[in-house]
Symmetry: C2
């Protein structure tokens, strides 16, 4: 007898055969999927009626800075340099562990309510983010953001913080948390720093989450000036690139660099909304896909998005590449849903356990209510999910075999209390910043 | 004593001074707003508590083809020509008045649930759309889509249908319906047809809703080949342009054409999502705004969007222009909210009655629930509305002083019944098309 049986839903498995059943069921025992398909007739302790609903793998947000939910809407429509230097960084300077914890809880709540079951995060006070992940029931790949700016002393202490997170949290929360190294970027971390991290990641068997080639001016040109080479050429030469690298953004790559990404099996976390909002550019994603590079989707932090809704991110992803290529056939609904599920799982090298609904995989899945005006009629459920749904249509969320939300009620977190604390904490942060001016 | 008092909300008026009150009230008598602001102390028959919510003018969808809700997701990710010729047109050929009525009801329901209070429509069997508008309580500017393809006989019958709609429905539904002429486009309507319509519009004192310069190949180039001129140059020369022209799309205009649009006070209905999804291009909206041209926002039909969510449309509008210009300061949250409210009202020449919350204007307004994870914290309510909200956050909708939705329950339409009928009708349509193959 199964623990949970999800019964009679429009089942979108995202398995290697991309199987879909109009009426399918999923049986769950412990944290695993034990049966999938039309013929599942098991009994279970808990039966979830999914008729009139879509059942699909939980969405994976492959790049964010979760506690930045507290900075949502604090500054918009500004030039990137001013936005960072006059608004974001001076505010972040006042963040305490308490702020970070509340911001992370708010982010976890928002993700559950919009159908994201796993995310890759890079920030600081990451033990607070880990705490929020543990409480919320979500799955995450956490990394401490290392910024050392050619300072050997800072390098040592920053790398130490990164290693401590890995030692203390890798495999924690019943295996729901994995960790990565998080060197911020090649323009904020020296060659020595990146080489040391590469070796440590190998030693600890973890991945590396880094920002690469997000903007031309503050990023690619800085690396070119310092090293006389394009970022990927420089990183390849120092032996940094590899299959464990999760490269966020990759907006500005030359053909030579794309080839290096492909050869080294670098994974790309694509953030279309943030790249558009900050006017960073449009990543050549169709070329990445043609080259067989793994592309996942991320929302980036809330200050540059301004939400964590992966449904919105999927739609914008498809739209922006169609108009970039002036070709409506590229980045189809199917492709973008793949990026947001199996793409994310592969990017985090977690694809043996998550990313699709298959027997033996962890039970991370979401149920979307299709009985909505904007999801009617149901000519194509995948089209409706990608081009018409939003996070608010998610009805039920399971992670690791546990129900985190049902009928839009979050079971692991106190929604009202978190909203209250988040508002209070954000106001406190703004006051502290004002007082310091 | 007022009929309705909306009390204590975060009031975004969109009035000429762009007044905002953190705690403001709106009093309504009959179909009109009678008091606005902090100090409103009136009593009323119905009091709506708007604390923790935003109160703003209803959004105006300036270009759609409402019954195409039935074609949502029927064909995506296809080249435009094949999409139209192999999927959309052959399916539309089987549409009956009954189909159109159900599709229009579904569209009205979706609009109410996502905060749109007024829309400009162009389709056929428009009396069925008018019926749906009447039943739903929405406001609309309706036009019959005239396609005559140089056939004088067809021209006569098509223009007759357009005129009949105007005669029968202009000012109907208690003034909630106005009508326009709807010549489809300069590549589907002859010079004679456009000139005749221009004169008739003057005679009947109505506007003209037309598709202009949406794509290069099937549109601008066809006009250039036929008349040896760019579309706006040709239309200016035949005296067609003027302040009553609502020009949908305007993706491909030269500087000379932009100048003609400005001089003639042509109104532009910008459809960013549809233009991206069909890979038509990105309209030079920042140039239109710099030239003082009125720009409104539309979703276009559901087959190329695939929803009617004006919140999503606002966000994508801002994003796509920021990345097009590589400038994060353009098309700010404030500007895009203006386009979706006063811009729409001006585009329909209805701005004396709708588009803002001001004493004497019609009571068309929406209340958005801000107590949501993705709308917390409230550093900037306008930023949260444009960059983080979606249609599902709308709690209450009023049109012409009547409550159409409260607490997300639609009061004028039977939601469940419409969803059932829409699914059935869409299936019937697909069957009819299959049978004819």
């Amino acid at each position: 007898m199964a623990d949970i049986l999800i019964k009679g839903g429009h089942l979108i498995t995202m398995d290697p055969q991309r199987r879909i059943s109009e009426r399918g069921s999923v049986a769950i025992e412990g944290n695993k999927i034990t049966a999938v398909g039309k013929e599942v007739k098991e009994k279970a302790d808990v039966v979830i009626d999914a008729r009139g609903k879509a059942v699909l793998p939980g969405l994976i947000n492959s790049h964010t800075h979760l506690p930045m939910t507290l900075l949502r809407g604090i500054a918009d429509d500004m030039p990137l340099k001013l936005w960072l230097e006059n608004e974001i960084w001076p505010t972040e300077a006042h963040l305490t562990p308490k702020h970070v914890h509340v911001g992370a809880l708010l982010g976890c709540l928002e993700m559950i309510k919009s159908g994201t079951t796993c995310f890759a995060d890079q920030y600081f006070f990451m033990e607070e983010v880990a705490k929020a992940v543990k409480e919320s029931g979500l799955r995450a790949a956490l990394s401490y953001g290392i910024i050392e700016k050619d300072d050997p002393k800072l390098r040592k202490s920053e790398i130490k913080k990164g290693t401590e997170l890995i030692k203390n949290y890798h495999g924690s929360a019943g295996g729901r948390i994995i960790t990565m190294y998080g060197p911020h970027a090649p323009y904020t971390c020296s060659k020595e720093c990146l080489i040391e991290i590469k070796e440590l990641a190998k030693k600890h068997k973890v991945g590396v989450h880094i920002h690469l080639s997000e903007t031309v001016r503050g990023d690619v040109e800085v690396v070119e000036k310092k090293y006389g080479k394009r970022p990927f050429v420089y990183l390849d030469e120092i032996g940094f690139l590899g299959p464990e690298i999760l490269a966020a953004h990759c907006v500005h790559l030359t053909d030579e660099e794309i080839d290096l990404a492909r050869k080294n099996d670098v994974k790309i976390a694509h953030n279309p909304v943030s790249n558009m909002k900050l006017a960073s550019g449009i990543a050549p994603v169709t070329t990445y896909l043609k080259n067989g590079i793994v592309v996942a989707i991320g929302t980036d932090g809330c200050a540059s998005n301004n939400n964590l809704d992966m449904f919105e991110e999927m739609k914008v992803c498809s739209l922006v590449h169609k108009v970039r290529e002036l070709d409506p056939t590229v980045v189809s609904a199917n492709e973008v849903l793949t990026m947001a599920t199996m793409g994310g799982a592969k990017a985090l090298r977690w694809d043996k356990e998550i990313g699709s609904i298959e027997v033996g995989k962890k039970a991370d899945l979401i149920i979307v209510d299709l009985k909505k005006p904007h999801l009617t009629p149901a000519h194509s459920v995948i089209s409706n999910l990608v081009y018409s749904a939003n996070g608010g249509d998610v009805d039920t969320v399971l992670v690791n075999g546990k129900i985190l939300m049902q009928g839009r009620k979050v079971l692991t977190l106190d929604e009202e209390e978190i909203l209250r604390r988040a508002q209070e904490t954000a106001e406190d942060l703004v006051c502290k910043r004002r007082a310091s001016k």
